[in-house]
Symmetry: D2
Amino acid sequence: MDIGIIGGSGYTGGELLRLLANHPEANVVAVTSRNKKGQKVSDTHTHLRKIYDLEFEDLSMEDVASRSDIVFTAVPHGTAMQVVPKLLKAGVKVIDLSADYRLKTTVFEKVYKMKHIDPRDAVYGIPELHPEIPEQDFIANPGCYPTGASLASAPLADAGLIERAVFDSKSGISGAGAEPTNTSHYPNIAENIQAYKLTNHRHRAEIVQELTRLDGTLKKISFTPHVIPSVRGILTTAHIFVKREIDMDELTDIYNKFYSNKPFIRLINGIPMLGGVRGSNFCDIGFEVEQGSDRIVIISAIDNLVKGASGQAIQNMNLMFGLNETTGLWVPAIAP
Amino acid sequence: MDIGIIGGSGYTGGELLRLLANHPEANVVAVTSRNKKGQKVSDTHTHLRKIYDLEFEDLSMEDVASRSDIVFTAVPHGTAMQVVPKLLKAGVKVIDLSADYRLKTTVFEKVYKMKHIDPRDAVYGIPELHPEIPEQDFIANPGCYPTGASLASAPLADAGLIERAVFDSKSGISGAGAEPTNTSHYPNIAENIQAYKLTNHRHRAEIVQELTRLDGTLKKISFTPHVIPSVRGILTTAHIFVKREIDMDELTDIYNKFYSNKPFIRLINGIPMLGGVRGSNFCDIGFEVEQGSDRIVIISAIDNLVKGASGQAIQNMNLMFGLNETTGLWVPAIAP
Amino acid sequence: MDIGIIGGSGYTGGELLRLLANHPEANVVAVTSRNKKGQKVSDTHTHLRKIYDLEFEDLSMEDVASRSDIVFTAVPHGTAMQVVPKLLKAGVKVIDLSADYRLKTTVFEKVYKMKHIDPRDAVYGIPELHPEIPEQDFIANPGCYPTGASLASAPLADAGLIERAVFDSKSGISGAGAEPTNTSHYPNIAENIQAYKLTNHRHRAEIVQELTRLDGTLKKISFTPHVIPSVRGILTTAHIFVKREIDMDELTDIYNKFYSNKPFIRLINGIPMLGGVRGSNFCDIGFEVEQGSDRIVIISAIDNLVKGASGQAIQNMNLMFGLNETTGLWVPAIAP
Amino acid sequence: MDIGIIGGSGYTGGELLRLLANHPEANVVAVTSRNKKGQKVSDTHTHLRKIYDLEFEDLSMEDVASRSDIVFTAVPHGTAMQVVPKLLKAGVKVIDLSADYRLKTTVFEKVYKMKHIDPRDAVYGIPELHPEIPEQDFIANPGCYPTGASLASAPLADAGLIERAVFDSKSGISGAGAEPTNTSHYPNIAENIQAYKLTNHRHRAEIVQELTRLDGTLKKISFTPHVIPSVRGILTTAHIFVKREIDMDELTDIYNKFYSNKPFIRLINGIPMLGGVRGSNFCDIGFEVEQGSDRIVIISAIDNLVKGASGQAIQNMNLMFGLNETTGLWVPAIAP
């Protein structure tokens, strides 16, 4: 497969390149960046020296499409809706890593406070929850927080058992991007933790969309994100309040059945942590039932740049091309 | 005041010494440690070199009491109950930093799964919630998590407004003590976050005790702790579900009134973080009301070794001796 | 003493405020910032909430001088030379924390590649090496790296024993300031170490000036700095090649004599580390003689913002006003 | 190739497993651990869940040899000399990751203060410096510090240009192993840096052996290690004092020639850092000539667990089996 990447200078672009370097069927043929045109890709992504000899190019969408079998758009929201229709019109498959096509248009416009110039249906690309991905030519790749939160709670939503869900998520700072900011300034985040968007983070809308798709009666969904002194990873602590008593055996059974034959989900007998998934496409899930209470605590751990972004995008690509979803992604996490 | 410290080789002992070094009325006269008898205190607490010339001693409680006006017991739970009665019998004031006297005896025995050999009532030493501290000779100094969680939510509990409270807490690793363990091993916690005791941490009982004291009808209290890659600090994210609609103005009013004249509480217009309180006795509190929901998110930040342990103990000491509670503690946090 | 601070919004300004808050003779009366005029000082330095009620002001130097007994200038190099002469002309004592007056004018102009508009002699403010400080009205406060390097090696330079000195220094990132940059971006420095200015960092000139003042024959002085994933601190590894054999006893004797009656120098029997000095004005020094070699390794540890900047400035202030140099600074480091 | 690993529960064992998981010719057939016999390998190395289904076994060396084409011994020094002769006698190829066979026997016994029970010549396994590796059945895999230091300076040693070499190395804490210690206790190393073995670290002997092999006249070699708050990586700052003037062009030429056709060496126009090599087998090298001085500063960056241990071992294995040395190792570093 010949692959194009629109917007390759950020973290998700770099992560696509890192992961595709060891994909047996992938061949990156074009990486665009308007600002870095003519510079070597490995001058920006210095960890890719000797791995890639490509240069950033400033190409039309038509040019990228003509060279590629599939194109990943790794551009900011609001920009993706300008380039995606051109790519699709040119007949190439597209996976968009921005937020532009993840939500129903009306919801998108409300949450992102902008007019959508290319209203279009897209399948939301969590392969474990969307068996229809192999037939698609266009995928809206999910947000990092929604991936961790949805995978943690989908089996219970699907079973109609959730009364209330509170997602308290802790993310590595790479989710905020490659540009230095006050939040990412080392003295501000080291030895610290920063809660933000306490009640109204945009990603909540994606979580709501996915869980209510599984259980239309579910109404009470809360989400609060934090950044922690870690580069990668999202740990989601899902405090789930259930409609009826449930014990560990039944809970385990529900998760085992829901995620049977899902290679990247690891249900573990214990508590997941970021160190177990760093650099990999796995999502580790563990849980515990509170005695004498209606609360279940479910912990999920993902790498925000892999299962939360570029790895999941490649998993979607594999499915869209009839490959095994693990092709090129069956790589262990790096630990310690 | 002449001060004795029982068990001075750990982090809370070291922090008492650090803070008392600049207390104008305090004079540390004895620091005990069985293992380190005869060694200089500053060989263990190397940051205290030239500040203290004391040696660790192995003394009877009677000896310590005879030298001291007040004694801090900084020993493990189960040990405190062996030494506290001897000290009190010898007529000295005592502040116990262990868990032994924080809970009603029946609750203690159930939670800590041990027989209590010295059942005794003690005032729970959060000065902002216990005006009766100045009259006491004995104080049970609170746990670190309960301090952060109780201060975050007490005004709403006092107003009878809480339907359900979910405390999701993130602690620095110093809370686990000075002894190396797998959890505190740098490769295991750096760039990571570890949830633990998802539904049954012992500190939950203290939170329940404090909040139900303010609102006897409150039943639904959940608590899940995490350790993060930080040495100091506890950030508590309190997801509070309230009984009736409440807006920011009313909420602000409730907190302002409840904490008026409480010097160490800082109600901030924004989101607290650990960097604002490190090394200090302050508790920063901020909050946000979720639109169209019954959820309020309250964030509190403390230094677990100061307001969560040794600083609060000194605040209690000040009150027990008729001093201004800020004496020796009106020290800014260290930042960056 | 009434104190003015010119340029109070950065890290050294904040650290002056933090340290002066507990100085018994100090009263901060003016803090200037052109950009932040009218804002509360504690909105920028949030750790100082409730400690200071001051606002940043945009004042003339004459106004600041008229209110103050001493003024600290915490502005960038090149700016200090514009404000210092006005302050001195107005008759107030001044301590300049910039680089503008540390070097002989000819050396300054060569190293900083700029014309000096106010050539003027100033005493270089390392009190342990400059007994003439008490008589001064103006002090050039030293750089952070030169403080650590000079204190590590001055006794050997003074003894005329150094053949060659190689300073390999490791600094916390706060030395780069409060403004976010690529270097300070958390994903770029966490779990990393960045060497920079391998052979020509500007601070080398200060080290050369100080050491050759003690030994005019000393020629071979090298310096390479690094930033490490730490907010505060400078650890200097001084590889000193000596002219004749020397053993630990003689070496210890040289250091003990040189630093007798220097309260902030702690000669330790072991290897200093940043954790022992964080937040304090101490400089910890330890050393080892290589068997069968002409090499001695000396390690010094300081807090770059305290002994390497604002703490040393206050130490100088104390001396200039006839106070004990430890006044307000005899505060233990914070550990863990 | 069928592969056995003796001592698979530590970091180098885990890293062999991680890297071999994506080696197209490798098949791990046995992993021994006496303590963890019968436990799943992925219960210890939780990042390898679903990747390996192996259990730790407690096997005789003969059993391991009979199943394997090559055996890696990842056991402590002193233990390796007990198992290696049995494996070699059984006719299997061996790569020993301990220190037991790296040094000449007389040097080993002096440095490690123990009698060697199996004196035996072995080729020192830095492939870039030892073209004789392909013909070997037994390789002594180098120490992590000596790999970084030798690769940084070998071209200059080979050119006979070094008068004096001072290696100031900064290592991630994973080099100290998987067992918790005071040094690896998070509160002791976070926001800190710890120099140790200032003049007499055992790895110095390996550096001396390698460099004097290239230049028999070289005498002055110094080495001081530090641990920094990083899990992985070694940055070596080599302060090299040269015998005659040399400029950047000549220096670049020397390095380019020496390392032509060495795929894992990346000579970069800039300053290497750990972030560029994490998780990979690359060694990045950059340098600068000090103007008007005899000093050259060379920086090398490796991942201590990969090029400094398990990756280099696999590189040696590839060569011993006639494979391209990059087989299974041409994997980019993980960044950010």
